[in-house]
Amino acid sequence: MVQIIKLNNRDFPWEEGLTIEKIMEIKRFTFPKIIVKVNGKLIEKEDYATTVVNKGDNVEIIHLLAGG
């Protein structure tokens, strides 16, 4: 069975060693104004690469509204 996490309240496949940076890469989240929370805890930008996400974690990657 595929292991999952919640990403913005939707299922997202989990794999060993998954980090915030990895998720951002897979999802191609390139927008500069982003807020990241794991289980409600805010993660700073410099910690994206080292923050490991565990099975079942609740990850929020919130893009702040923009547009013309």
């Binding site: 913005n8 807020i35 702040l64 509204l65």
Partner: protein, 717 residues
């Protein structure tokens, strides 16, 4: 340019002397009324009722327009007006983005009121010259200009036969003519349209400001809805305002210190954070070209797709590195530290009447790059800049032009129209030469350009009636609603944004709501009620900028460093508070966030009822083309097959073994049903019945139960 000779051609038609007056807490309490049919010029009082219920800016514009017109008034009737009004905060120099004016008129594209916001110096200088608003009615026999001299207290209407019509030349000519010397050019602002505005329905207005570093007259655009077409139809060549003594305290604010303090805090934020966030000071709104591509939101080839490998060639860094002049403070009004009004200097034109000349191109804004570029399949930065320049100087809205041209290109590629119909033009996606030729034809008033210039709505009708096109298919792919062309974002994967476009008053422009990230990416609006709440709050909040004379960009194109710790980061609470503080500083009104929304609700619902009075504004008018909701064609579906198949599975339909056509049909039924359900939820939240009509009870609650409004809605309850 022989300014003396041009000026000698002027014939004075009317003259009006007035007391200069003073501004109190952001208001001059007067409106300048000019009728160019009978050459009346008069001062009208701004009443306490107007200030209470309509605030200023767009509120005043709509109120005057309502009183000037009847349900049967057409855009080209003399009664139709063009109203320009800044709002009480307009002209503030201590906070970023406080020089905007709002322009209102009955639109040649939609036949209902349009409002368009614009920078440049005209709005603030108009106010400092003694006027909260300028209301123009009538139709002249020959080309005229209206000149407001705020130094002398003199308004004139003058025949002006020799000036150019195109914006970039006319702006220069009149700036030169009315400035006493080089230094004085900053004190003159000119409103023009252009030659293309005369022959199309998508004409825009250019509002100028003089740029002393570049020594050119820069242009900012009131783009949407064809107000430039109304302007030229009235035979107005230009409006000129002159006021020489701009200072930071002219609004006679209630508490200047509060404004100063709020401004300093904000400027610091821009200084510290802009380069880490949106880079507005380097590239302006074009910073999001590649972002939109990455998120599959950049319209490509008439909104068929949301990204393209060639976007690489038109990404913002290309413009920054090769074209856009850097290191210049490009604010479109004093004190705007966000300074996003970027320009490409010494750009050599390759086509048209100005071929070979080096010009300053104002832009590109994101919308221009997307509309003139990717949406027409054009991925060449120089092509985009050239189209951008000609749209501006001819007075053509880049968004309507881009979306209408993309539609015509798709019709051509699908064989719905052919070379015979286009007069020999090879109207294929990616064909810059053809796109720019369409523009030149619009300027000359000939050829297929004038057909495209009628907009998507009228092209659809023509292609069906004259060339036997399938009306249903054209309805699906023609990206217009209420007669206005969609602005340049792909809304297929965000139901909330489909409503953000579809449930607007003026037509599908994103300035009411841009919810794609909150909805599609962040999943912060999972239920219909959540979406409806956002589709109430954001349109109301954003309407508010247009009541006061603020620019929307400084609100959320940068956010404070600690914004992420707030409860509702998308609203940027600290900036909202800044606005409330600045408005308190100017007017002395202490508004809460609820009061702010209420002020907008009054004007928003007024505009809604105005639409109903003009025979639109009901549920049926919020129907949207399916291309804004999902894949119309096989190619579209198959290009994102996995996404759509997965969605079908989620709704309990097994896509295995089904043809693409079958899958499109099921997906479409589902998505259209979602749109209807969203409409129900939004109408309810906005205090409207299921037909989209404001209830009398709600109007009473807003204090908008004016007899003339009740008259319009009472039989529709």
């Amino acid at each position: 340019m022989d300014i003396k000779r041009i000026k000698e051609g002027h014939k004075l038609l009317a003259e009006y002397k007035y007391e200069l007056g003073t501004i109190e807490r952001g208001y001059t309490n007067r409106t300048l009324y000019v009728n160019i049919s009978d050459n009346t010029i008069a001062s009208k009082a701004v009443t306490p009722m107007m200030k209470e219920k309509f605030v200023g800016g767009k509120g005043f514009g709509l109120w005057y327009l309502w009183n000037a017109t009847t349900p049967s008034t057409k855009w080209d009737d003399p009664e139709n007006e063009i109203v320009i009004a800044g709002g009480p905060a307009c002209g503030i120099t201590q906070y970023a983005g406080a020089g905007k004016s709002l322009v209102c008129s009955l639109s040649p594209l939609t036949d209902i009121p349009i409002d368009s916001n614009v920078g440049g110096f005209f709005g603030p200088l108009l106010k400092f010259s003694g006027w909260d608003a300028l209301e123009i009615q009538g139709k002249a026999e020959k080309d005229v200009i209206v000149v407001i001299d705020g130094n002398k207290g003199l308004v004139t209407i003058e025949e002006a036969p020799y000036e150019a019509v195109d914006g970039h030349i006319l702006g220069e000519q009149l700036t030169e003519m009315y400035a006493d010397n080089e230094d004085d050019k900053r004190n003159v602002s000119v409103v023009t349209a252009g030659s293309g505005a005369e022959h199309t329905r998508m004409g825009l207005l250019n509002f100028s400001f003089y740029d002393p570093r570049r020594k050119v007259t820069r242009l900012k655009q009131a783009g949407r809805g064809g107000i430039g077409t109304v302007f030229r139809n009235k035979k107005i060549k230009a409006l000129v305002v002159k006021f020489s003594n701009v200072k930071g305290d002219l609004n006679n604010a209630y508490d200047q210190a509060v404004i100063n303090k709020t401004g300093i805090k904000y400027h610091r934020e821009i200084h510290d954070l802009d380069h880490l966030q949106n880079n507005m000071r380097k590239i302006g709104t074009a910073n999001i070209i590649e972002v939109m591509d990455e998120y599959d939101l950049l319209p490509v080839m008439n909104f068929q797709y949301g990204s393209h490998p060639d976007t690489e060639k038109i990404k913002s860094t290309v413009f920054i590195e090769k074209y856009i002049t850097q290191g210049v403070q490009d604010g479109c009004w004093y004190g705007c530290s966000m300074s996003c009004a970027k320009a490409a200097d010494c750009f050599k034109l390759k086509t048209g009447p100005y071929k070979g000349q080096r010009v300053t191109v104002d832009g590109p804004e994101y919308e221009n790059a997307a509309g003139l570029g990717s949406n027409c399949g054009i991925f060449d930065p120089e092509a985009i800049l050239e189209l951008n320049f000609y749209c501006d100087t001819y007075g053509i809205d880049t968004i309507s032009f881009g979306t209408a041209t993309a539609f015509a290109m798709e019709c051509y590629e699908r064989g719905i129209i052919n070379k015979e119909i286009t007069g020999g033009l090879e109207l294929k996606f990616g064909n810059f030469e053809t796109a720019v030729e369409l523009l030149h034809q619009m300027s000359r008033g000939e050829g297929f350009g004038t057909v495209v210039g009628q907009g998507v709505h009228r092209m659809k009708k023509l292609f069906v009636e004259k060339y036997g096109a399938d009306p249903d298919f054209l309805f699906d792919i023609g990206m217009e609603q209420k007669g206005l062309e969609y602005s340049e974002y792909v809304s297929k994967e965000s139901l909330a944004q489909q409503g953000g476009y579809g449930f607007t008053n003026k037509g599908p422009q994103h300035d009411e709501a841009w919810l794609i990230f909150m909805d599609m990416v962040n999943n912060q609006l999972p239920t219909f009620e959540d979406k409806a709440e956002a589709l109430h709050y954001f349109p109301m909040f954003r309407t508010w900028f247009g009541l006061y004379g603020f620019c929307k960009l400084p609100w959320n194109d940068i956010v404070p460093a600690d914004n992420k710790y707030t409860d509702e980061p998308a609203k940027v609470p600290e900036h909202v508070q800044n606005y409330l503080d600045v408005v308190y500083g100017v007017t002395g009104k202490r508004l809460s966030t609820e009061d702010m929304i209420r002020e907008s609700e009054r004007v928003y619902n007024f505009q809604k009822i105005f639409n109903i009075r003009m025979g639109k504004g009901l549920r049926k008018n919020d129907k949207a083309p399916y291309r804004s909701m999902g894949p119309v064609t096989k190619e579209e579906y198959e290009s994102r097959q996995e996404r759509y198949d997965n969605q079908l599975k989620e709704i309990g339909y097994n896509p295995e073994g089904k043809t693409t056509e079958e899958k499109i049909k099921v997906l479409r039924e589902y998505r259209e049903d979602q749109y209807e359900k969203l409409m129900d939820a939004v109408y309810k939240r906005r205090g409207w019945n299921s037909n989209g009509v404001p209830t009398i009870e709600y109007l009473k609650e807003l204090g908008m139960d004016l007899p003339e409004l009740i008259e319009v809605v009472k039989d529709l309850q």
